[in-house]
């Protein structure tokens, strides 16, 4: 294991901010901060009445790291996946998160924090599958 105290503390602080963001959306608008749900509703065949706030949430999510890069530090974004797997991965993440009604934010953060049985089962399932995929890519495909 590679435990780095500063990374763990930054993780806790950043995680608390993610929780705060989800809390703001719930306590303010009464909505779940599930990114796949918010984004999925924007690219659906029919736009919901909440399209404007969905778009602003997505805009804030995309803009904040740019501001952070300008005023604090530019984050590293390292992707080692090949182009075919990158495309396949995107398709699977998009389709799967809509089929399963949520992703790491909606089920992982918002659902698990209210002890939703569906969200706990979903999170354990996608965690287990993703861990298996990384293991296969490391030991079988490498």
């Amino acid at each position: 294991m590679n435990f780095v105290l500063n990374d763990a503390l930054a993780g806790l602080a950043g995680g608390a901010l993610i929780g705060l963001a989800a809390a703001i959306l719930l306590l303010g608008n009464g909505r779940i901060a599930g990114i796949s749900g918010i984004l999925g509703a924007l690219v659906n065949t029919s736009l919901p009445a909440t399209w404007r706030e969905n778009l602003l949430f997505v805009a804030g999510l995309a803009a904040a790291p740019v501001a952070y890069a300008a005023f604090v530090a530019r984050p590293d974004i390292n992707i080692t996946t090949s182009v075919p797997l990158l495309i396949a991965g995107g398709l699977l993440v998009g389709f799967g998160s809509r089929l399963g009604s949520g992703c790491t934010s909606g089920h992982g953060v918002c659902g698990m924090s209210r002890l939703s049985p569906r969200s706990i089962v979903s999170t354990l399932t996608f965690m287990a599958v993703a861990i298996a995929v990384v293991a296969v890519m490391r030991f079988v495909m490498a």
Binding site: L20, L26, R31, L56, P75, D76, V83, G96, L99, V134
Partner: protein, 138 residues
């Protein structure tokens, strides 16, 4: 007001993903790489911090019939574990493991991640649209 709340929430969410380094797929895959001999536990701390804060928000709502701004709250959680939930989670997990990106960090990396993130987002949106079409005709 709803728009401002949503914008602020998105901004704070984005800063959280940068501060925690979950915007970096290599960091996420470091957590998922449980058997690689150099496991990176950071994602567990991120999840812990997020769950702790969000749990408080749910406790606040538990004694209320609407949000602090007077909007209706989400329905009570369901315990209906069906094939759709499990299948969706499995499909999502496949893609998440392959790349290390899920929808939040992908959008957060829109302007900073270069062409790989843009390509991933394009494919992800295509996957979401495909679901909308399939779901409508099903």
């Amino acid at each position: 007001m709803r728009s401002i709340v949503a914008l602020v929430s998105g901004l704070v969410f984005g800063v959280g993903l940068v501060v925690s380094d979950m915007i970096n797929p290599a960091r996420v895959r470091g957590f998922l790489d449980l058997f690689g001999g150099d496991w990176d536990p950071t994602l567990a701390f991120v999840m812990g911090g997020a769950l702790a804060v969000m749990a408080v928000a749910w406790i606040v709502t538990s004694s209320r019939s609407d949000s602090l701004l007077g909007h209706s709250l989400p329905a009570k959680p369901s315990s209906n574990i069906d094939a759709r939930l499990l299948g969706g989670a499995a499909v999502f997990g496949l893609g998440w493991g392959m790349v290390g990106l899920c929808p939040g960090p992908a959008i957060a990396g829109l302007f900073l991640g270069g062409w790989p993130v843009l390509l991933f987002i394009a494919a992800m949106v295509a996957g979401m649209m495909a679901f909308s079409l399939v779901n409508r005709t099903a």
